[in-house]
Symmetry: D3
Subunit: 176 residues, 6 copies
Amino acid sequence: MDVKAEDFFLAAKLDMPRDTKVSKVGSNVTLINVMRIPGLNTLGISLARIDYAPLGENPPHTHPRATEILTVLEGTLYVGFVTSNPENKFLSKVLNKGDVFVFPEGLIHFQLNPNPHKPAVAIAALSSQNPGAITIANTVFGSKPAISDEVLANAFQVEKKTVDWLQAQFWEDNQN
Amino acid sequence: MDVKAEDFFLAAKLDMPRDTKVSKVGSNVTLINVMRIPGLNTLGISLARIDYAPLGENPPHTHPRATEILTVLEGTLYVGFVTSNPENKFLSKVLNKGDVFVFPEGLIHFQLNPNPHKPAVAIAALSSQNPGAITIANTVFGSKPAISDEVLANAFQVEKKTVDWLQAQFWEDNQN
Amino acid sequence: MDVKAEDFFLAAKLDMPRDTKVSKVGSNVTLINVMRIPGLNTLGISLARIDYAPLGENPPHTHPRATEILTVLEGTLYVGFVTSNPENKFLSKVLNKGDVFVFPEGLIHFQLNPNPHKPAVAIAALSSQNPGAITIANTVFGSKPAISDEVLANAFQVEKKTVDWLQAQFWEDNQN
Amino acid sequence: MDVKAEDFFLAAKLDMPRDTKVSKVGSNVTLINVMRIPGLNTLGISLARIDYAPLGENPPHTHPRATEILTVLEGTLYVGFVTSNPENKFLSKVLNKGDVFVFPEGLIHFQLNPNPHKPAVAIAALSSQNPGAITIANTVFGSKPAISDEVLANAFQVEKKTVDWLQAQFWEDNQN
Amino acid sequence: MDVKAEDFFLAAKLDMPRDTKVSKVGSNVTLINVMRIPGLNTLGISLARIDYAPLGENPPHTHPRATEILTVLEGTLYVGFVTSNPENKFLSKVLNKGDVFVFPEGLIHFQLNPNPHKPAVAIAALSSQNPGAITIANTVFGSKPAISDEVLANAFQVEKKTVDWLQAQFWEDNQN
Amino acid sequence: MDVKAEDFFLAAKLDMPRDTKVSKVGSNVTLINVMRIPGLNTLGISLARIDYAPLGENPPHTHPRATEILTVLEGTLYVGFVTSNPENKFLSKVLNKGDVFVFPEGLIHFQLNPNPHKPAVAIAALSSQNPGAITIANTVFGSKPAISDEVLANAFQVEKKTVDWLQAQFWEDNQN
């Protein structure tokens, strides 16, 4: 194997703002993982830049194979995660520029930019070369095909028509 | 350390039906993990019995530290899981008695008993002595304290009052 | 990779009794591992049904890459394992329906159905997608080719002709 | 923690012959593991010297948590291991001074000095700071308390009195 | 254990420039590891800010337990690492703002700010909650006590007095 | 896969002295890793013989993926390693025949034969089937291509011409 510097490099432009209008929730995650830098294979780490619009959010999600550590580059973030059953304890914090926060592997967490006027930016690192991401709303209401409304109505204790309505709008969202 | 057989044993009565009315969703999970059998420490496995009422459900959840393999002992189960972003592909299957299904580590999955008249029972094994469980609805709408309705309204693209209503009923649920 | 539900599924008929006459010792292990469910690859778990004839036995064996956790579905089992040198402590227990027992990775263990009239059934889970199994008698006396009788006579402190006689009958056994 | 060189050192005298008469099988294993060098903790390796009397043997055994790699310092060794069920293939080799052989984790293996006049010596390394060792004969016939003769008679397809006789002599052996 | 948000948080001020005059080589590493955020325990990740003076350098070093992934926040960096024996291939790259580079676990690497007028800043993540750092020059010439000059003279193929002179100045350096 | 004994065997002649004149530093490492015994794949161990000329040295180096445990077969060795920043504590010991010493994963260590008249020999085991080796002097001064003298002059606090001179002689060395 003729190893070369390019296998460990990406001109990722992590210094450049991303368009946060690509999602309805006002955020944009740029993940640099093993699919983008082949030299990361088996090495157990990846890096991301996250842009948040004013009031934008990286909505509740989990990484099935990684813990995340994050620092704020610009703006302010309201962040949190919830512990496992049966406690389901919600831990949250307001982060200012330069603060650091940890989201343990597999737990549901989010970041929200509470400022209505200014964007925010974070750098996050994840303890896997392929951490995966499962956005709760997309997964539960926007999967392809849709999860049976019977399953979700019972799980969320709502009527089926409420589930259908939620799925309809996420279905649309996923077509954009 | 004077090791003895009792450290590796539990009279868990996994043959006995559990009360599925303890939860609104009509299921009951009996997990035998390292907190119940100390000899499991560091050994990377645990076992569970799951009871389902007619139309009962083990609602969408993840195990942050374990893959699950399940077999049906009684009745029928409609099961599924959703893959990570961006595909969010929903894979599902109807399982009959004796069938086996695998839910990979960290992915959101569920089991539902589609039979309106008969209960169902499964045995599941998990690849950790302390797999953890994160029930999506409980975590997102029933955490203590509640996640800010602003976070959830944006994430699920609903109005805040819808979030408040969902949280109110899960809050009740978690007091029972 | 176009992942599909069938990759994580097997119609294994784990509810159906197996023929315990296939072995001289009166037991039959049905193991669902990565060779039977490809989706188990790298996920670190597998599942088995074990049938025991009256007085039948899953004879002393080890799993070189897995801990086992077992529960009794039908009947009664006398189970045990032996700790490493130099203690070689034998820990045993009689298990009734619904009881759970753990056999730590790599240790020699067995299960015997002490009831002369009724069969027994267990479900076991193992902490590897390919746990392996080494049955002591088959390995020591029934290998192909046979281990030199000099090696075994010294190890078991018996005469070579005793070794030859044991090997002869296991050799036969392995041809059936 | 005030770390010092002594935590990583042992005056183990691995150059000195050991007494091979301490066991009936004519061998003596000197294992340097984490109990003897505390600095090995979590580091995943240990080292051993093995002495063999003329015709002496390190009888069939497994290491539940380690692979072994061995080189012959003096004399000749006939070595082998058996693969898992269902193949139970016996792989063997005669090793001369300076040869290297590998015994994979958890498999049953042995070394025998075929020379009736000269001792043999080997150095072995194991891939765990606490590999464990399970000598088959000691475990099966010499455990404390003894495994029920019913279990062993069925497993080895012999009469109970044969089992009793084997256990009696190993019981003696373990008192010496 | 009463877990709280503070266990996963640090007001690390990673947005603030550090003093690069604390070292002769013109750099300053601010590492946020498990000693500073207890919640990182066992989670396999840590984060660092690195400041470089004009022409400053994070000199050749290794992390014994971690791979590093780095992105440039400000300025330009000339970075490189050397592969193992026998190739000892040197891979290097000039990184601009927003570029990403990976330094595989245990390999010797460095970053240098080639700009004589402007500082540079990077954020790096490491695949361990306690990655460790071994600066080659400090370790080889500045250890306490000093490594024997005989060892180093032979290793670096220089005269002992050259070694003594190098050690003298690093010894001074380590007193500052 | 038709596994055979030869996959786990090598006629490595580890009993035979190696030529210590192949390197300027007077040592010769014969490593038996997965490239030489294919059966070692994934098994996490390898073995080495090290020969030392009178006053010869295995110069400061690290193994990026392994801890090393060593015993002296012939002669005497002065050995040591240095702990990570910021302590950089140097731990050393004189080892006689039969002594055992441990070099923890990723730390810089060496062995030197202090005897001007007699050679020394050691057997070492490493906790990886492919431990890697990074000789500090070869890597820093003998890489291909050479590391920029600006990087090294600053790191070692010497003039560029000193770096150039060191590199020139290691460059020669690596051509032999």
